[in-house]
Amino acid sequence: MLLIRHLSAGALALALVLTIAPDSVESAPNGRVVTGTVKLPPRAQRRPAPQRGQGFVPRAKNPLRPPDGLDPRRSMVVFLEGGPVDDMDKKPQSSRYSIVGENFDSEILPVIVGGKVEIKNMGRGTPRLYSKSNPDVMPVDPINPKGVRVTEAITKAHVPVDIRDKDSVHFLAHIVAFQHGYFSTLGHDGTFTIKGVPAGSWKVKLWYQDGWVTNIPDTSVTIAGKRDPKAIEVALPAKLAAPGEAQ
């Protein structure tokens, strides 16, 4: 019994290895790789992390070290806009979204318009997923451990589809569709990688959970030749509003 539990824990860890890496889609083979980092503003300029829910008493700061403040990168998608888009990169692809415990492996999942999402339950619970914004995207029935549920095609670009659990308040994720596949989620350190980007001039945009981040400096990347462009840095503005908050 103990062996089985250890094996299951190992399988879960392997799944995490496969799913925690930043999301990007397979792009044109002749394209280049765009890498970069989304940097947070200095700690003093950050907004405090939003408090969601409250217990009997308000939360208190840790006395040993002040909190770092809001880190929105877990809910961000880097998107390249403006360059020539290969038709192959507009083709809808199936994406996998893994449940790794009390939430998905990332807080946001970018997909190409028309693509479907395969939701796999890698956790121990049996969530009953549903979408408040798009109720028809999936049936509301429990997903057993290791079970898979495939959503309907996400057909509207830039319209986030929320995914929730009927039995858990904190369970929340978003699926956002873009016109092509030149996008990537961010790692826990803010890094990203977009492969197969065709040559051209691309504007770097940031999608933050349910909308574009507008108050960032214009950042663009130009791809020419056979060499990958230099890693780019995108600095997040200070006082970036948390999802649902006014900026």
Partner: protein, 599 residues
């Protein structure tokens, strides 16, 4: 009687008010008890909130200390290193579990139901006390875990698979104050906890999540009503349930409960978690219920105003008795005394002026009855006059002390009516006299003084000496008495007059003997005169009328005998005599009759 009636009315009103108060009083008392119960259950609810907050603070404190202890050990470094790896290694889990077990042994008192050690990404490195063999899964989704990973210390309520948990989370830092992860401590909100709270608040408490009871201090089945009444919590501000929420009244097992609900905070609160505090309600009070609930001490002198109650009772009784004595017993006694005097002949009628109200009315009614009797007697005499014809004036003077049966000189009816002077009766009046007559004052009638002296009859004085009153009359003498000439009448019987002595009130028996003679028919045993006696009187009467030159054609024996019999019956009834003797004599030149009661 007026004041007595007023008093009785007042007593009735007081009694009615007292009964009304006695019946109404339980309701205010019940309302007051209900208000107290409501206050009590709301207070218990508020105290529960305070206790839960205190408990949360204590739990946060414990978690912070626990995190500090993790920092002091190598465990914080284990968490820090695990955060760099893509997976949680078995080695990290084993180290974590070992250190965690050591830490838990140092915790005094109630051990946490769950302890989680998390790396910076929110993945479970080690669990203890609950599901402690699994690791690697992410629990970052929990709000408290996110806050702890962001550097905050906080508490929360989680609804997990096996129940409701009070949790607290705190960040774990390395010795060099780098973020290493977080620690989560949880305590089940189970029956044991509910019982502990219940003892502190002196009320029962239940916990609910998503409409289901998850913990209860007492197994009382009020859940359905409580859950139905919890809908309003969504519309109330946080923490307002105890003070502003509707107080529910539910029944279960034949008992009534006062229930108030209050929302629980945290993630469970967003899943409609709440707690309900309830107490058993006192039984509704009614009048009998209040009496039953009264204790012996309630009637003690120090609690019950016995002196005032007894004083009021005595005052009411004395006033009532006084008014009764003044308005009922006193006048009744006076009326009784007056009636006794009337019966004993000491008075002739009630003195209406001395009696008031109803008693005066009684006196007047009795006086009216007396007057009516007199009028009836007079009417009877008039009938006789019509039969016998009017008697000549002054034929037989009224004797002193004689009673005029048809007294027309009665006092006028009504209070204050003065008795007028007795009018002189006509000569044909039917008169009684002698010992057989009732006493003049027997009916309260005034004595009638004779207006003219009665004529002396031959042999009257001698007869009175010879015979006692009431003995049968002696046989009449052979020779008729001297008959004065009398003017003719229209015919019929001129007069029937009671024999009256001239100088005494005795009936002159000698006259009877003179008139009827020794061969007069004897009186039958039943007192009625034999028929031949009336024939004899009739013969004598016709003979005397003829002598007096009066017509006799219209006077038949039947009519004569009928009249005599009627008068005989009347006299016997009135004087309780054995029989009546009729005597024929000449009066003012006319034939006349005298009637003498025979004892």
């Amino acid at each position: 009687m007026f004041l007595s009636k007023i008093w009785f009315f007042l007593i009735t009103i007081v009694a009615g008010v007292a009964i009304t108060i006695a019946l109404i009083m339980p309701r205010p008392a019940e309302r007051a008890a209900k208000v107290q119960e409501d206050d009590r259950v709301r207070t218990a609810c508020l105290v529960t909130g305070v206790l839960l907050r205190d408990n949360a603070r204590a739990r946060i404190q414990l978690t912070s200390e626990f995190a500090q202890a993790v920092r002091q050990l190598k465990l914080s470094r284990t968490l820090f290193e695990a955060s760099k790896d893509e997976i949680i290694s078995g080695q990290a889990n084993a180290t974590g579990r070992k250190e965690l077990t050591t830490l838990l042994e140092s915790v005094s008192g109630t051990k946490p139901s769950l302890v989680w050690l998390l790396d910076r990404r929110g993945r479970v490195v080690a669990r203890s006390n609950l599901d402690d063999t699994t690791y690697g899964d992410s629990v970052r989704g929990y709000y408290a875990v996110q806050d702890a990973l962001d550097g905050y210390v906080r508490d929360d309520l989680w609804m997990m698979d096996d129940g409701l948990y009070r949790v607290a989370a705190a960040p774990v830092l390395t010795q060099s104050l780098e973020w290493a992860g977080a620690v989560v401590l949880g305590q089940a909100m189970d029956q044991e906890f509910a019982l502990s709270l219940s003892e502190n608040i002196s009320a029962n408490i239940n916990f609910y999540v998503s409409g289901e009871a998850v913990a209860a201090s007492e197994p009382i089945q009020i859940h359905k009503d409580v859950v139905a009444g919890s809908k309003e919590l969504a519309d109330l501000d946080e923490g307002q349930g105890c003070s502003s929420g509707t107080l529910l009244h539910v029944k279960a097992g034949g008992k009534r409960y006062a229930v108030v609900n209050a929302a629980l905070p945290g993630e469970a609160g967003e899943q409609q978690a709440f707690y309900s505090v309830f107490i058993e309600r006192a039984k509704p009070l009614d009048f009998m219920g209040m009496l039953k609930s009264a204790k012996k001490d309630d009637l003690g002198f120090d609690r019950f105003p016995w002196i005032k109650v007894i004083g009021v009772f005595i005052i009411m009784m004395v006033v009532g008795l006084g008014l009764t004595l003044r308005e009922v017993d006193g006048p009744l006694k006076k009326l009784n005394k007056n009636a006794v005097a009337l019966a004993q002949g000491e008075a002739e009628r009630f003195d209406e002026m001395t009696h008031r109200a109803k008693y005066g009315s009684i006196a007047r009614s009795v006086n009216i009855a007396i007057d009516k009797m007199h009028r009836d007697a007079k009417a009877a005499k008039k009938d006789l006059d019509q039969l016998l014809g009017p008697a000549p004036d002054g034929a037989v003077p009224r004797a002193a002390g004689a009673v005029d049966a048809g007294a027309s000189a009665l006092p006028p009816i009504g209070p204050g009516g003065s008795s007028g002077a007795a009018a002189t009766p006509p000569p044909s009046e039917f008169k009684f006299g002698g010992a057989a007559a009732p006493p003049s004052g027997g009916l309260g009638l005034p004595s009638m003084e004779p207006t003219t002296p009665a004529p002396a009859m031959p042999g009257l004085a001698q007869a009175q000496k010879k015979k006692p009153v009431g003995t049968p009359p002696p046989p009449p003498e052979k020779t008729p008495p001297p008959v004065p000439v009398r003017p003719k009448t229209a015919g019929g019987i001129a007069d029937i007059e009671l024999q009256k002595p001239t100088d005494t009130h005795k009936i002159p028996d000698a006259i009877d003997a003179d008139i009827l003679g020794d061969d007069a028919p004897t009186v039958a045993d039943d007192g009625a005169q034999p028929a031949n006696y009336f024939e004899q009187v009739y013969g004598e009467f016709i003979a005397l009328k003829k002598i007096c030159g009066e017509p006799t054609e219209n006077l038949s024996f039947e009519r004569f005998a009928k009249k005599l019999r009627k008068n005989e019956d009347t006299l016997i009834a009135k004087h309780d005599c054995k029989s009546v003797k009729f005597q024929v004599y000449e009066k003012d030149g006319k034939a006349a009759l005298k009637a003498s009661p025979v004892k």
